[in-house]
Assembly symmetry: C2
Homo-oligomer: 326 residues x 2
C-alpha cells in the first residue's frame, strides 16, 4: 500500500493533456455504459456545520477504483482551518485490495473539476474567443480558468466576486500565472454581457445569473451547485439555452442546476445531453456561432477514479510515496 | 494522521464489554434518530467477479465518522488471495479532517458483525440455553459464536456446513477456544431442531431454513443476506416468528431476509422492530419462553463507525500506530 502526500500528488499531476484525456475517458465510458458511478452519499453533521460527501466510480479497463471522502465544515475557518478537505482511498479493481491512500487534502477534486470545465468549454465554447468571465474569485475560480486556458486562447478575463480583497488577490495571481489581462467587473451582469465563455464558481444558494443576460454565442459552465439547496442560474437560463449539457443527467436532476429547471417545468430531461456523449463523439458539441450553451457540473465519481488512478500510476513510475504494510 | 495495521487493531479491540456497548450505542442512537446511516453503496465489477461495498454513518456525540470500503472478489481464491478484504478511513466529525486509516483487512467487519449477533441474542434468546447451533463453518460462524458466548452460557454447539474439512477445523478450533462441546450435524434441519439459538452464517443465494423446523423458544439470527440476491430463510419463517427484528428496517427491506418476506406479502414492515429499539430499551426483547424470534442482520454503518472509533481511541491511548503527514 502506497501513501501519497499532497506535495507528491501535486508534483505528479496537474493541468496536462494526459490528465484532461483521463477525465474525458471517464465521462465517455460513463455515457457508453462502460463505467458505473453510484449516487453521491452525503452525510450532514449539523452540530459542526459539516457535510461529508462520498463519491466513487468503477471505469471499465482501469486497474483501480477510488473512493473519495470529501468534507466541508462551516465552523472550520473560525478555528483557523480550511473550510474543505478530502482524501481518496484507492483499491485494486482486480482484487479489491488496498492500493493507495491519496492524502491530497482536496487538491485532486479542485483539479478534476477544473479539467471537467475545460472539457465542457472545449465542446461547447466557440473556437475563437476574445474574453472569458468568471463569477467568484475563490480557489475553484482559479482552477476553472487554468482549465479553460488549456483549450481556449483568451486575452482578457472579467472577474466578479463579492469580497474585494479576494478579487484583488485573484487579479494579481491569475494575471501573472496565465498571462492574460484580468479586469474587475462591478456586477455579475457585466461579466456575462462582455464574455464569450462564463464560468460560475460560487456556492450560491440563491440564483443570480439572469436569462436576459445571455447573448448569442455565449457558453456558460455552472459548477457551484452540488446539493439541492445550491443554485447559481435562474431556471429560465436553461430554457433559453439552445443546448444544455450535464456531467451526469441523473445527478444534475437531483443536486445541480437542472434540478431547479425540472422542478419549474422549464425543461425536459430528454432534451439534455451528457458531457460524456460529447467527449466520446456520440453527440455534437456547439453547432453554430450563435448558439447559447450551458453545462451543469456537479462532480461525478468517474472524475475522481480517473484522476486518482493517473496520479497513482505516475507516482509509482517515479518511485514516489511511502509504503505501509505488505 | 494515524495508520493502524491489522495486528495493532487486533491488539486494541475484540470481544470485550466496551466493544459490545459501543455497537449497542450505535444501534440505539440510530433508532433514536441520533445517528445517520446512508444507504449502502454497492459497485459490481463483473470482469473480476468483484463487489465493492461502502458503508458509513455519523453517530451523534462521537468524534469520528468512519467510511468503510469492503470488497469481495470471486476470482481471488484462485489467485491465492482471500475472497474479501476491507479498510476504514476515519475523519473527524468536528472538522472533516483525516484522522486515521485502519488497514484492518476486514477484521473490524467480522468483529462488529459478531457483536451485533451478540446483541441480537442478548435481547431475543431465552436467558438460559442448553445448545446453540450454527449453519456455516467459515470465518463469520466463528465470530458469531464468540459473540454469543459473551451473552449466553451454552454447553453444546451444533454445526452444519457443506465442506467436511472446513467443519472439522471449525470443531477443533471452537472447542479449544470456547470450551464447549461442538457436535457436527449432518443437516441444517437437525441443527435447528436441536438448538435454542441458531445463527445462519452462509452466503446462500437460495433459502434453506424451513419454517416447519422452527420450534417454540427458538431464536434465529440470519446474518448472511446483504444483497438482494442472497437469502438463507424461506420467507415463511418471518411470518411464523412472533417477533422479527432488523438491524435496519430500511436496509433489510432492500437487501436482507425481510426483503423476500415483503416481496411475498408475508409480513408487514410495521410489524418489524429495529435492533436499536431493543438495545435502547424503547421496545421489549423476548417476552416469553415460547416465542419464536428472528433477527435479520445486514450490517449497518453505525457498527463500522462505532468499532473504528473505539479501536482508534484505544490505539491513541496505547501509543500505537504510525503517523503520516501533519
Amino acid at each position: 500500500m502506497t501513501l501519497l502526500s499532497e506535495a507528491e500528488i501535486r508534483d505528479c499531476v496537474g493541468f496536462d493533456p494526459q490528465a484532461l484525456a483521463a477525465i474525458a475517458q471517464g465521462f465517455s465510458r460513463l455515457a457508453q455504459g462502460r463505467a458505473f458511478a453510484p449516487p453521491v452519499v452525503a452525510i450532514e453533521i449539523p452540530e459542526h456545520g459539516g457535510e461529508v460527501d462520498i463519491k466513487t466510480a468503477y471505469i471499465e479497463g482501469l486497474g483501480s477504483v477510488a473512493v473519495k471522502v470529501a468534507a466541508g465544515f462551516a465552523d472550520n475557518p473560525a478555528k483557523g482551518l480550511p473550510y474543505g478537505t478530502g482524501t481518496m482511498v484507492m483499491i485494486s479493481a482486480e482484487t479489491g485490495f488496498l492500493q493507495a491512500l491519496l492524502v491530497d487534502n482536496g487538491y485532486l477534486t479542485e483539479l478534476r473539476t477544473g479539467l471537467a470545465g475545460a472539457l465542457a468549454a472545449d465542446s461547447l465554447a466557440r473556437r475563437e474567443i476574445e474574453s472569458a468571465g468568471v463569477i467568484g474569485a475563490g480557489s475553484q475560480a482559479r482552477y476553472q480558468m487554468r482549465g479553460l486556458k488549456m483549450v481556449r486562447d483568451f486575452k482578457r478575463l472579467y472577474v466578479y466576486g463579492p469580497i474585494p480583497e479576494e478579487v484583488s488577490r485573484y487579479v494579481d495571481d491569475i494575471e501573472a500565472e496565465l498571462g492574460v489581462e484580468v479586469v474587475v467587473a462591478t456586477t455579475a451582469e457585466s461579466v456575462v454581457r462582455r464574455s464569450d465563455v462564463v464560468v460560475c464558481a460560487t456556492p450560491a444558494r440563491e440564483p443570480y445569473l439572469q436569462a436576459q443576460w445571455l447573448h448569442p454565442g455565449l457558453h456558460v459552465t455552472a459548477m457551484g451547485a452540488d446539493m439541492p439547496s445550491k443554485q447559481e442560474l435562474f431556471a429560465e437560463c436553461l430554457a433559453r439555452a439552445e443546448h444544455v449539457v450535464c456531467d451526469s443527467v441523473s445527478q444534475c436532476a437531483a443536486i445541480g442546476e437542472l434540478h431547479h429547471a425540472l422542478d419549474a417545468g422549464l425543461i425536459d430531461e430528454s432534451a439534455v445531453d451528457e458531457l460524456g456523449e460529447l467527449t466520446s463523439g456520440g453527440k455534437p458539441g456547439r453547432q453554430s456561432d450563435d448558439e447559447i450553451t450551458i453545462c451543469d457540473l456537479t462532480g461525478v465519481g468517474v472524475q475522481d477514479t480517473a484522476i486518482a488512478r493517473l496520479a497513482y500510476e505516475r507516482a509509482i513510475a517515479a518511485g514516489c510515496g511511502a509504503s505501509f504494510g505488505d
